[in-house]
Amino acid sequence: MEGSIVLLCLVFWPMAGALLSYLIGRKNKTIRDLFADFVVILECLIMVILLVQKFREPDPLVFSWDEFCMMGIHLELDGFRLLYGFIAAFMWTMTTVFSREYFRHHRNRNRYYLFTLLTFGATMGVFLSADLFTTFIFFEIMSLTSYEWVAQEENISALRAAGTYMGVAIIGGLVMLMGLFLLYDATGTLTLSQMGDAISNAVKAGSLTVSRQYLIGGLLVFGFGAKAGMFPLHIWLPAAHPVAPAPASALLSGILTKSGIFGILAVTCNLFRYQPYWGYVIVILGTLTMFLGALLALFSVDLKRVLACSSMSQIGFILIGTGMISLLGEEAALAARGTLLHMVNHSLIKLVLFMIAGVVFMNTHKLNLNEIRGFGRKKPLLCATFLMGALGIGGIPLWNGYVSKTLLHESILEYAGLFQVSSADSLIGTYTFWKCIEWIFLISGGMTVAYMMKLFVALFVEKNTDPALQRKYDRNTSYWNPESKIAILVSAVLLPVMGFFPNLVMDPLANLGVGFMNSQVPAEKVVYFSASNLEGAFSSILMGLLIYFIFVRKILMIKDKDDPKALPIYVDRWPVWMNLENVVYRPVLLMILPGFFGILCRFLDSFLDLWIVLLRKTLYRQTGKKGKIFNANFKAKMAVTGLAEKMYAGSLSFGLFLVSIGILVVLVVLFLYG
């Protein structure tokens, strides 16, 4: 054990706190809640102190414990890890504070706290890890402990979603492990900072071919992408978020998906430094994830499902940024900053939005847009906080999402621009291709605006179709207690603050990620509110408005034909059969493969017995219809009692007899050739 022990404490303090809080919770629930708050707040404070120190002393803290779990754990606290560790601690603090009210009437709370804090420790481990082995250890723990979140409610859909979640997590973990095996075999190291050199040495020495390198990268990205919700492994995400308790959804969406992104970034920036083809693949996957997520979100009529699909879409944005880092190589400063900032923004925004969804659910116990419609009317504070999140994620200028989306947009334009200045040999794709990507990017941004608007209008503007329910909603003024209120307000205030002063707040944050992503600080300050940048944002917003008014209001909402005065209601027009999980994964994994292997196994299991039966019927057992060993009379007599067959076939001597024949055969072989 050497290095700064603080890092180890950051990881194991929440885990120890988890066990302690479980024991306390068996005696007293109030003290348990306070203790859990204490655990996370303390952790958050330590992170703040470390963050402040970081600006004074830029050298990263390191910690290593070589004996731990064979390969040892290695932790590091450079800028990026510090930032994300802090965000994790911040999010856990807010959600834990919020949990007290949310879970007031739930059972199994003790279990929830135990697993939440365990996951906290594991997540800190993932974000602080300096080598992929450490990442893997904590990643696996995190996957398994977060299972409880999804299953917490224990109803049928929760258990089903939890099953999917666990399945994806385990398959992802194993595939990642395979990648790690191959990587370790090829390079002899898993430490991220040495990876770049080790890879180039291995390529030079010939122990690592390019195809092998891409195979390793693919396996690792499969593993990490499964957690990040990358297409086509996103299936758990829209299912798991709505059924999990709101604080857990906020964490699942805000932080756990980011741990997957952390892995993908680590792989991209270390294994595939300046490899454009890699970036190309990631960009395509990112675009698919981004567009599909936005589309799913647009169709959904469940509040938390919209937010979940939105998470998937935003992960797509981040993946595009990650791919652009590889594509742009040394000029990737903007892409790298955009990626990091969008990660941060998305975490914070989803924290707010999911907590508000939690407030809605806490009061109404419903999530369907038609049922919760109008809940937010006459609740200005709730409306304001939701608006902060919606504007943030919609990429509206002056809010934080705008900054990061602008950077990502810039980086696509930068790459497309290269086609006009240099010869196209070293570039991938065509100018048209990149223009298409840009358009999909803008359209997805527009869809983001549209689905957030759909939520906002449904919750805060329209009245419920049931006037009695609306009156009940309007009268409900004590919809959150002070603790929850503070947690949501604090989280919500951050978003415009970051957006109003991008150069003051966002740039220093972005600078923290420079070391981890092997990028540079851009030479000149980015002017976020320049005309060209605003143009992109406004075209996106315009598209969003169009999509909302034409598509959402006309097609996704229907009016009762008989009653022209009735309000239109939201309908889910997404075709039921278009569900990757139900159409492909579940049938293949649960029916086709087990069916096939089941039959095969049943055959194989009695393989030897089959032979024995066959031999008995043919060679050794002349007791067919004619019967040679026993005479007919004797046999008939014995057959009545059924004794003969049992006596003969079941006797030990018969078995031994078979064996001795085998021995004889082998002995003959030995004598002949020995």
Partner: protein
Amino acid sequence: MKESIMIIPVFLPIFFGGGLLAFRGIENHDYYKRLTELIVILNSLIIWAILTNHIGKEGIELFSLTSWLNIYFRLDGMGMVFLGLISFLWPFATLYAFEYMEHDKNQRSFFGFYTMTYGVTAAIAMAGNIVTLYIFYELMTLVTFPLVLHYKDRESRNAAIYYLIYSIGGATCAFLGMIFMVMRAGNGIFQYGGFLDAARTENINLLLLVYVLCFFGFGVKAALFPLHRWLPKASVAPTPVTALLHAVAVVKAGAFSILRLTYYCYGADILRGSWAQKVAAAFVMVTIIHGSSMAVKEIHFKRRLAYSTVSNLSYILLGAIMMCPAGLLAALSHLVFHAFTKITAFFCAGAVMHKTDRHYIYELDGLGCRMPVTFTCFTIASLSLMGVPLFAGFISKWNIAQAALAYGGRIGTAGIGVLLLSALLTAIYMLTIVVRAFFPGRDFDYESIKDCEDPSWKMKLPIIVFSIVILVFGICSGPLLSFLELIAKGGI
């Protein structure tokens, strides 16, 4: 005469067990159980004294039938590992058996044979040459046969016959191999790198044929496909038997014998790259997948674990057939870690069966809430079996994969693929139990299980201790692994 102490751990349990069987009148007294525990603990203490004082390096010849047919004990590194393992497990398992068997009529014969097996297993661990190994290997079949037959109902009779036929059939193959080796190389004393002189052989294929024969012969006890059928059937035996004998002592003796055969009789050099290795590898890999798949299919709690044992024993062999020191290291580490993991899992299953009389997976809903200790430990065992980091199973699987990668080629790559696929299947068949127990669903009727509770300390102590061992090895396995590495390189 320091070396002659080695004989005590072999014959003390055998004579004591024999004594128990001989005295009929003691059923009504409880003291003989305490005496049994005392003898078992005493035996373990003697074994630890032997291990810590490094006795047994010289070897001792008990008697010889002919000039080359002699009973010879010697304790080398690999024997020390196996001996240390069983000496740790046996006292706990006996303690567990007290509660498990408390309502049984035939306890005297059970404890008699159970204790005798201890001596026989110790003898296998300490066997210094192939003849001794073979004799005690055969003896083990005979001693454990009555334990499988214990309940004397139709099912256990059937299982016992299976057990006997398979084991004796296998031992016959092993016998041929033994004769062959002894004829060729004299006394057949184990030595690292093999005692068969390959250079002297004009017909290498015959040598390899005998290897394959022996491999399958010993493979019967290691539940190698297609000779694995007896193991799931034998799970009708009382749980202490399935847990200790059919997850550790007997089956590991099979794997142990194969390791002896491969690394100490033939030597890895002869076999590396030969067709014999390929044949062995093919069957080992089929066994891994087959065992795991059958475990997924199986709905009987103990049989599912038994199929899991089938698959995990072949993990050991998968390490072994990589024919390199790293492979031996991996095999030995899985031999140790799987022992702890599987005995914990079986003991938990036994606890459930004993307290609630539930035998099938679908009956386990919600039990985690009523039997928290049992199912927490079962979860630990499950995670270890899956190979989740921080648990012992991960270490050995990592080692096996490293060995496979180091070996490379088609066998290595296929080996890793098989390992990961099997890990996925393991996750399915173990976690479905855990999830059922802890997350029965919202509508579950908790009234139906209100009588279920954790067993008494006699059962809980072994389970908890083994779980802790799993965690400790998972987090800090350095010292043990460096010891195993020394063995694998021929140091001890």
